[in-house]
Amino acid sequence: MAHGPAKGISRWLFTTNHKDIGSMYLWFSFAMFLVGGLFALVVRAELFEPGMQIVDPNFFNQMTTMHGLIMVFGAIMPAFVGLANWMLPMMIGAPDMALPRMNNWSFWILPFAFFMLLSTLFMEGGGPNFGWTFYAPLSTTFAPPSVTFFIFSVHIMGISSIMGAINIIATILNMRAPGMTLMKMPLFVWTWLITAYLLIAVMPVLAGVVTMMLMDIHFGTSFFDAAGGGDPVLFQHIFWFFGHPEVYIMILPAFGIVSAIIPTFARKPLFGYSSMVYATASIAFLSFIVWAHHMFTVGMPIAGELFFMYATMLIAVPTGVKVFNWVATMFKGAMTFETPMLFAIGFVVLFTIGGLSGLMLAIAPADFQYHDTYFVVAHFHYVLVPGALFSIIAAVYYWLPKWSGRMYSEILGKTHFWVAFVGLNLTFFPMHFAGLAGMPRRIPDYHMMFANWNMISSVGAFLFAGAQLLFLYIIVTTIIKGRKATDRVWENSEGLEWTVPSPAPYHTFSTPPEVK
């Protein structure tokens, strides 16, 4: 029986090893992150000054749409799945994922989905240009012909996510080492367990809504076409019934990562472990009953506006519990500020800013002014970039020594953090002001009065992009020639993953470890 990795390309094509598949997920999401970032730079370059300079409006719309789709489905989600693949079996003392072959398949259909999605840009009529939320009838009656490819690529991404989620739940519920009770699991495992349930609940809804689009476009049904008795608002309800849990799919694993990193560098156990678990579960439950806060302006009765407003504000309670616990963990801790910790603290501070602008948007009467302005763009970038993305970067710095057996350069890592930190605040903070002053989203040209804020945003965006190229350089040089890492890596690291050698051998925990 062969124990080592296979040689050559077949190792990657046919691998069933959770570490190989995790690495492929991470590299794939990094590639998609660069592509989506490139699209964002096209957008920011066009918005550098008022007037039309670089691209035509239709291509601009394709860029905003593709940026959103690629970042959500191609960068953030696969990166979290990659981290789950690498870390979950090692954290719970399992030899591999529960369904290794399905694991291989759920990764390998992704490149095809995104190849199909990206290829639409070169088709007659261009790629999707209707925004990442693809509201009907923009995405049905008025869509470019390539929309069918978009629909099928979303189907494939959905299948991949659902298979990944089933695999993760099966691993966590069935493969824990003896003694690893549910309430002893690291929080990253807990948050991923809950996220996986969210995925299984809502990815099929996304598949359903694009299937309805497909039938409206090609088979003469009228789900969203008023001429045939349908209703475009139905699209928004179904989309956001998927869409709101989706935003928690992109943030709950981040909570788990930060809850692993902060105790290590504060040298204190996590404050309020069980309240963290219950807060995660409450957020997941609430995510199903707040979707219409994305559509306050469609003409709901006052009772609906009030219900969705209060339900949305309720989410601030479990989220506040989490932020409190992170701060309480750091309180009176012997803190050091290595790169993962910098990103984790950046996460706590900036994610809170994004959460507070979310509370402002939740106020239904005020939302009528903020709706579809750059204030919304500022809000969701503050929760996704320093939220989801910073946690992924923090996780890479935190666990890269375990994966590769080599340490990154602390100076370069800290430089990466500070350039990214300054860059993203320059990019997204002025968007709050542009939005409050009334600048609408998804426009290639704008009034002169927004010129200064936009110029600052564009400069920040290019700075932020430069920081990510530095990130790529750091990863590559670390893997090639970083100095050797110890098994424990960090002074106060806790958890099963630090009990195996660095780099982690191809097979770990073939015999289950003892969990006290």
């Binding site: 369904l99 009656t141 069935n174 990815m203 099929p204 209703d231 608002v233 139905l234 179904i238 709901m300």
Partner: protein, 189 residues
């Protein structure tokens, strides 16, 4: 009845989770849209008015109240027809049957079929606005250059909520020539 489950607990769990995913897909595709329709029908939320009203009981005319009913015509997208209400607004008593006409003209050089879709505000008046006859119940074919009067007969229910003083009824006219077999409707006349 107990379904036979695989003995391997991992496979049994995956089967359940997979069934749940399929269930959610079915829910999104076949249950959510009808649920939405029923919800809107009860509350009147999306402004869709009901079908043909059969006056089962003779309504008393309530002369103590007057409701202002306004009529709006909208052409969807690039629909080239001229489409205007002959009466912009009418003051009616609840219970009284009123007729108004919309005028359509097909100025193009080709035979076309149109479908008018009603939408009504405020939403709490939707279930109290009854149409005994409406051009929106069927498609309107017009040959090139033809014109037509399209009648609407309606009754505002006596039980209409007290706060409602104005009802706005808007028709959007859609070009459905491609959707319906043109020869059937145009040729039958």
């Amino acid at each position: 009845m107990k379904l036979p489950m695989p003995s391997n607990p991992i496979h049994a769990l995956c089967l359940k989770l997979g069934a749940w995913a399929v269930g959610m897909f079915v829910f999104a595709l076949w249950i959510m849209p009808p649920m939405y329709d029923v919800f809107c029908e009860i509350t009147g939320l999306n402004g869709k008015t009901g079908g043909r009203y059969e006056a089962s009981e003779i309504q008393q005319i309530d002369t103590s109240r007057t409701i202002n009913v306004q009529f709006v015509a909208i052409n969807n997208d690039k629909m080239p027809w001229q489409f205007v209400p002959q009466t912009r607004s009418v003051r009616v008593h609840p219970g009284e049957q009123v007729q108004i006409d919309y005028r359509v003209h097909n100025p193009t050089g080709k035979d076309m079929i149109a479908q008018a879709i009603p939408s009504l505000v405020p939403y709490n008046a939707v279930n109290y606005f009854h149409k005994t006859e409406c051009f929106c119940f069927e498609q309107q074919p017009l040959k090139a250059g033809e014109s037509a009067n399209m009648p609407l007969l309606f009754i505002v229910d006596q039980d209409i909520p007290q706060g409602v003083h104005t009802i706005t009824l808007s028709y959007t006219i859609f070009d459905v020539t491609d959707r319906y077999a043109a020869d059937q409707l145009l040729g039958a006349r």
